[in-house]
């Protein structure tokens, strides 16, 4: 009789996902194999697909405790009909309100990057929103949130929209706390008056204006591979223009396996040294829209980026310095804050705040029934959130409160730390790791608690990862531009034979594309 064998994996979740090719909803399972977490699903028409979703199985399972009860938005925009993720949104089954709302003002861009989840560029068709549409989108967000925390203008390239400053003004006329401009920096680098105009708006009506600057590294090869051209000088000038205009900048790095993963440490060091930069956001490349060919089984995840940071900045970081964000699903986003001390001898000392405060004790929502310090928890919740942005009053006040509480025990030494901590604001630096989901990694369990949302011109609020993965982006573009848009299929190595290039550079199913011998170049 043959011996029975054990499976080589531990089955941990049953969930739903989509077929990356036809986008139909399919059953999915999450398994742990060799210490890593994988999502696997099968489509009757297109076969079985598997992708790495977290590189550290232990961290994945332990982070389940750091999952905060969601907050209801004031309004929902759709009804539950076909089930997640087909009813966006937000539908009444969504578990979280929107910490951050994205308004894509156009599809046009002054770059044609090989990596662009929005599939933007110099294109013959597309759309650009009007003032009226922007007003409706902002009003939708205000109706849903009351006093929305963060609006991000994105695109396309939002700075080339002729009304972008009007849009900022319109956001500032409403009870919105923070406006972010998600940009490649070319206009900031070349148009000082534009940087100054944003600078003037920073802080107006109590609304901060921040720059979310695409910044992937320092090697020419990185720029060529991810952006299609060498933008190093442009990035430098954009940053200097921001510093001059008094704008706070987040460096946003798309990190792709084999392209720029060796540059994460240098990006942090550069950011810490630049006067305009107060935070860095690392985002493993989202394999939606346009991107370079990849292998879903070896893609980068948040825990991989943490390991890269520990390896590349061993003098500053060690395991445990990042902490998962409880407002969304804890494995989607991790954050750390650093106290940065530039010493007179030219060296820089860094203290990660998670080493000072027992964050775990305050943000554990499952085992914790005795709350040690409700005020500290509230501060930490505001900091470990998708709406936290450096330089904004809410984030800075929370940082001060958390640091002061952490150090308050030392008052016996006669040092008034709450007072001293007020001056620490300038010394704090934030690092965010955000792994957006794509058609391979989409897990409705995470999606249902997403707090980063796309606001559409027809007044819906759609979770960012659903918008990019399920087909909403193509639907909105077709509706707005009047040109049919075929569903985008990830540029995975295993799918290359079944896809062709779309007019925008992304991949689409061969059956949806031009006839044989067409644009598949």
């Amino acid at each position: 009789m043959a011996d029975r064998r054990d499976r080589d994996e531990v089955f941990v979740e049953f969930t739903r996902s989509i077929c990356p090719v036809c986008k139909e909803v399919v059953d999915a399972q999450v398994n742990i194999r060799d210490g890593k977490v994988y999502l696997r699903k099968r489509c009757a028409g297109h076969g079985t697909f598997e992708a790495l979703v977290y590189g550290d199985a232990q961290a994945y399972t332990e982070s389940a405790r750091f999952n905060k009860p969601g907050t209801l938005p004031l309004t929902f925009q759709t009804e539950v009909k076909d089930g997640c993720p087909k009813d966006c949104g937000l539908c009444p089954e969504h578990k979280q309100h929107a910490c951050l709302g994205i308004i894509e003002v156009n599809t046009a861009c002054n770059l044609d990057c090989p990596i662009c989840f929005a599939d933007s560029g110099h294109q013959p068709d597309g759309y650009s929103i009007t003032r009226e549409q922007c007003a409706l989108m902002l009003d939708t967000f205000v109706e849903a949130e009351g006093e929305p925390e963060v609006v991000m203008f994105s695109g396309g390239e939002p700075t080339i929209h002729k009304n972008i400053l009007d849009f900022v003004d319109m956001a500032q006329e409403r009870p919105i706390q923070v406006v972010n401009i998600n940009t490649n920096g070319i206009r900031l680098a070349t148009d000082r008056r534009f940087a100054a105009a944003l600078g003037e708006r920073n802080g107006r009506n109590g609304t901060s204006v921040n720059i979310y600057l695409q910044f992937d590294g320092f090697d020419e090869a990185t720029h060529k591979a991810i952006r299609g051209k060498d933008l190093r000088e442009r990035k430098r000038r954009a940053l200097d223009a921001c510093a001059e205009a008094g704008l706070t900048v987040t460096l946003v790095a798309a990190v792709e396996r084999g392209l720029n993963e060796h540059e994460v440490g240098d990006i942090i060091r550069y950011g810490i040294d630049h006067p305009a930069v107060r935070s860095v956001s690392f985002q493993p490349v989202t394999h939606s829209g346009r991107h370079v060919e990849f292998d879903p089984l070896t893609r980068l995840t948040n825990s991989d980026v943490m390991e890269l940071i520990n390896e590349q900045c061993p003098e500053w970081f060690k395991p445990g310095d990042f902490f998962p964000v409880p407002c969304c699903f804890p494995t989607c986003r991790s954050i750390t804050y650093l106290l940065v001390d530039r010493k007179p001898d030219g060296t820089t000392d860094v203290v990660p705040i998670p080493r000072l405060v027992d964050i775990e004790e305050h943000l554990d929502y499952v085992s914790n029934r005795v709350l040690p310090d409700p005020e500290l928890r509230a501060s930490l919740e505001r900091l470990w959130s998708a709406s936290a942005f450096m330089g904004t009053p809410g984030t800075m006040d929370s940082l001060q409160a958390a640091t002061a509480t952490a150090a308050a025990e030392c008052e016996a030494c006669g040092i008034d730390l709450p007072e001293a901590a007020k001056d620490l604001g300038d010394k704090v630096f934030m690092i965010v790791l955000q792994d957006f989901q794509d058609p391979y990694t989409l897990n409705v369990r995470q999606l249902m608690k997403c707090c980063v949302e796309e606001i559409t011109p027809d007044g819906r609020i759609i979770p960012f990862c659903a918008y990019n993965s399920v087909g909403y982006r193509e639907e909105v573009r077709a509706q707005m531009s009047g040109v049919d848009v075929a569903p985008v299929v990830p540029n995975a190595r295993e799918l290359s034979a079944t896809t062709v290039q779309s007019p925008y550079g992304s991949r689409i199913a061969r059956s949806a594309g031009p006839e044989e011998g067409g644009a598949d170049a």
């Binding site: 000072l356 004790e361 005795v370 016996a412 730390l417």
Partner: protein, 275 residues
């Protein structure tokens, strides 16, 4: 954190490390670690407390005594999360006042009470408790044998004790000898065998012996981080107080190394009073 007023060793005031102590510890009659981390802090935090409660099978309605309870965080946790009725005993009267205030705030005063007393002479009757916990404190008691005997006395037959504490194997590393005076926890810590002898000597039957050294390493990280933040936030005041971060750094490094080498660690012990 235990009340440390019973710790009375006075080190010679000569090394830079001693200056730190004279800034904080000596001047306020307490321990440098407590000052940097807060008196409620113990390695492992709530997570280790929960693990201990689980190992002791603390359940609803159980009578639990917390020896050297500090401001009562563990007592409240055991009451709120495990439904136990907890008495905390501590030597420090002001600490107990705070413990009572925090407990009223948490609306747990019907299940958590505090008594003034010494772990070596617990002010409670024989056989009154189902479980007893003592976190990061036994190593600081001058009369450890007496304390262990008291633990056994106050437990009912079949009752269980949980101890978490610093363990030092093969004597304190030489590089750390200089700071033993101002970090009470390591000054008089025992090797694993020492704690086992104490518990067995009191007639208790040892159950679990579990190392939690990572908790101690995290504590070293936290001390280091807090000193560095003090240096950033208030360098002049720190200098006035005579604290020199540069002088402390080698000790922290030595402590981390000792933990990594397994010479200094943190352990959870459980034992049972034979029925």
């Amino acid at each position: 954190m235990p009340d440390l007023s019973s710790f009375s060793s006075v080190p010679p005031a000569s090394s830079p490390a001693d200056e730190v102590k004279s800034c904080c510890a000596a001047a306020y009659g307490t321990d440098a670690v407590a000052l940097l981390l807060g008196e409620a802090y113990h390695p492992g935090g709530r997570a280790l407390t929960r693990e201990m409660a689980q190992a002791l099978r603390v359940g609803t309605g159980d009578r639990v005594l917390d020896a050297a309870c500090g401001p009562g965080a563990t007592a409240r946790l055991l009451a709120a999360e495990r439904g136990a009725r907890v008495d905390g005993v501590d030597l420090g009267a002001p600490t107990l006042e705070r413990a009572r205030a925090l407990t009223r705030e948490a609306e747990l005063e019907d299940r958590v009470a505090f008594l003034h007393g010494d772990a070596e002479h617990l002010p409670v009757p024989d056989g009154a408790y189902d479980a007893l916990v003592c976190e990061c404190a036994l190593c600081t008691f001058p009369g450890k044998r007496a304390a262990a005997a008291e633990f056994a006395r106050v437990l009912r037959p079949g009752g269980r004790v949980g101890v978490t504490d610093v363990v030092v194997e093969g004597g304190l590393p030489r590089e750390l000898a200089g700071i033993a005076g101002w970090i009470a926890c390591i000054a008089d810590a025992l090797p694993t065998s020492g704690y086992l002898e104490l518990l067995e000597g009191a007639g208790l039957r040892v159950g679990l012996v579990e190392r939690h050294d990572a908790a101690l390493e995290r504590m070293v990280d936290r001390i280091e981080a807090r000193l560095r933040v003090l240096a950033m936030a208030a360098p002049e005041r720190l200098a006035e107080a005579g604290v020199d971060g540069e002088a402390v750094a080698p000790y922290l490094e030595a402590a981390r190394r000792a933990v990594q080498e397994g010479r200094v660690g943190y352990a959870l012990f459980t034992a049972e009073k034979p029925a």
